[in-house]
Symmetry: C4
Subunit: 272 residues, 4 copies
């Protein structure tokens, strides 16, 4: 480690092991990492169960700290081995990697916050990239594309639903009143959302005939309303699938996106 060259080699090797999965060492590191993440999330979950905490509380907290220190070292190595550490730290996975260790240290000051450690589960999203599951990545991209294309329709839809539940909730608050569990408008709005989304806990339920009649109308409406996001996403996904059918690029102007049965380039008129 005396020569700069040595350091460069050392950093390059470290980078390959941590960030890539092409070499044997890199693949082993990634698989080990996934197991560590799963084990640490499991430890946090088990530690929250009172009966298990009573017996194995000490061991589980030790395991949590073991993984926290391990992930802290890993985070530092990631920062060291990359050329532009700040860019990594500001990236999506960089932020997740940091959030995956902070709650442990935070719990020394504010007790109970260590349950935030479950955010580590997000780190496993790397698994698709790491194990070169390219077809899965493509399918994810297709799904994300469809959802992004539906963005505006879903915004309009969500605003309409929110306005609706505010008005329905207020009506139910006036109809049912506090004696039937509709103690305030926010609580009545909560009921309206529970009903419109067809969840239906039953912790609050209308008791008066008029309230039940309105609830029945809301449920029938929920039927129609649930069809809208489904319709939006389905139409986008069908569209996305069709787009994948069009493959050819024009040999002259290299325009893409031609129909499967196109004979001439729709951009320059050249024969395909």
């Amino acid at each position: 480690m005396k020569k700069a060259e040595n350091t460069a080699t050392w950093r390059a090797t470290l980078h390959e092991v941590i960030y890539e999965a092409d070499t044997r060492a890199g693949k082993l590191f990634d698989i080990a990492l996934i197991f560590c993440i799963l084990a640490s999330v499991l430890a946090v979950m088990l530690e929250s169960v009172a009966s298990i905490r009573a017996v194995h509380g000490g061991e589980l907290i030790a395991i949590e700290w073991f993984f926290t220190i391990l992930f802290s070292i890993e985070y530092l190595l990631r920062l060291l081995s990359v050329n532009r550490p700040l860019k990594y730290a500001a990236s999506f996975f960089g932020v997740v990697d940091l959030l995956a260790i902070l709650p442990s240290y935070l719990s020394l000051i504010v007790p109970g916050t260590h349950y935030f450690l479950v955010i580590r589960a997000l780190r496993i999203l790397r698994v698709f990239r790491v194990l070169k599951l390219v077809p899965y990545l493509q399918e994810s991209a297709l799904l994300m594309d469809a959802l992004r294309a539906s963005r505006r329709k879903i915004t309009v839809f969500l605003y309409a639903v929110l306005t609706l539940v505010v008005i329905i909730g207020s009506m139910m608050y006036m109809i049912e009143g506090e004696q039937n569990g509709f103690t305030s408008i926010p609580r009545a709005i909560y009921w309206a959302i529970v009903t419109l989304t067809t969840v239906g806990y039953g912790d609050i339920a209308p008791a008066t005939p008029i309230g039940q009649a309105l609830a029945a109308v809301v449920m029938i409406m929920g039927y129609g309303i649930i069809a809208v996001p489904t319709g939006i996403v389905t139409a986008e996904l069908s569209q996305a699938k069709m787009r994948t059918v069009t493959t050819q690029a024009c040999p002259h102007c290299s325009a893409e996106g031609h129909d499967a049965d196109a004979l001439f380039c729709k951009r320059c008129g050249e024969k395909l």
Copy 2:
């Protein structure tokens, strides 16, 4: 304000500020309006929470009246600044604007009706127009078109569902009887709607084996029935999307079905 010309200018400026969002003043007015609406709806909702009302009841009612007077002035200005006030008053937003201030005055006569003020939330629907969110407007129009095209199918579907719940409800009333919570046919119909829409509160649930068997059949039917409105809306939305793609016909071979961005006929290579 002595000359008619002055009045005309004054009205034109007012109209531009209140109804348009092209000028700086108009945009500021619209954004301020949206914040006022949100604040006033929030005040009404908080006032309905018993614990908050006990402490801040006076302030919240004062805030409600402040906004009511503000919106009343705005409503009068809207009437004044428009050329045909009656046409505005009879339009959708004219009626909503009026309904957004009436409950306050009504609550002086009939206590409790001021909760109807939440109808103000509808006023925010203007936001899409005001902030020139044209793509959102187009998407809304597409959604509305799809729903309008599904109108008849959904009417037929709703009538079939209503007939079904009346018959199912009556059967359950006879099977389960009053001792199991099915105290009347209307209440049993309410249960049938709760079940068929998969809401399932659990406030009324069949207790006899035959009742549970019938309920199981109803649920499985609900599975198939929920597919129908979804299918209707999805088919219309897919259709609507397709229409936006196909537009031009080739002037030479009159082939159709070109993409919106096509410059040449994909069949004969002629310029479109």
Copy 3:
């Protein structure tokens, strides 16, 4: 009524009034019939509410009998005025018309069966035909076509779902046992259906950790399973819409069902 001719005219007029809606009398008869049906169904429903029955029980039963006698006379007139009475009696609406009056007479022998009178609601299905709501009929036909085309897929799907709930129910019965409400396999199957269809009453809910884990798996499966009938119906409806695009008939062989962009008959090769 002495001459056969007279009888024929009398029967023809009656037939036109009762079965058709082209004449003024026929239309009036049909509208009056719909109001009678709605009123009689409403009377049966109100009669089932204990508090209303206590006060107006006598009147409501009188109304029920009034409508029963009215519908009995109508049924006899329908039999008389039609050329082949047996064919009418065996048709769908003939059976419904009979079932709509039988429960009243049956309730003289078996008390309580008069609630079956709600089957009268089915008679209103005539409304679409009677009022010449042709577009609605077409849309109903389209819906029925789509459902009929999905018949086999839905049968396969239903059988798969039934097998699944039997196996899941038995597993839950063994895991949760009688102390947690899963008192028998049929009851556990009822729970499985309630869960898989996302109704979720909560009258029976798993209490052991293993039972809750299995329930979670069932719910996630329900997510995927609910997608299947929706997908089937949607695909059929989209297909049905597309078929309606193809209109032309071949001038030579009069084959139908050509694509919108077809230039030659796909049956005989004739130019379209």
Copy 4:
């Protein structure tokens, strides 16, 4: 049975009766088998009902053993009559046939395991093959194809949902705490799944305002999330339907996209 020839004939006949449904004997055997399976599954289900077991427990256990012995003999005959018994034993139906008799013998050692006999219901899946319900088989294949093609998208979707419920569950555990029924993170995750899938038992429900606000967000998300698997399956099914339409290419102009029943090219009129 002294000659090898005789044995061969005997085995061939047995094979035809058990495995085929072309002959009268084969069809009868298959129908008898289906009734036996249904009867035995029904016996197991009834035996689990305490009130029925108290009265008819002995008979029902006798019936179970009768069918177990019958199915054991059938299993042995299946092994004997097939040329490669091991291949049958390792096939899907071979394993199901074995699992359908094992629980009875197992219950002699571990009491209560005989309820696993309901796995016999899976044997009826043969019904589609046995009764030559070819169109049903084709439709099943189409459904399976669509589900298989959606495999990767559904895996990605499931992983995203699992990560989501872990994080939501942990947040609710911290917000609501043990006093409101959220006694541990696994239990809170169970609640998150119950809510996100819109099942909504109501056995655990948020009681604090912040918890109810988060629950409302989760439900609205569930709305959007339920649209994703539906969209995936629908897009695949629509695609699958389209594939069945497009088959041939014109030998003259090589145009594609002809209907399955097309005899002539719709583009150039050439015979296909």
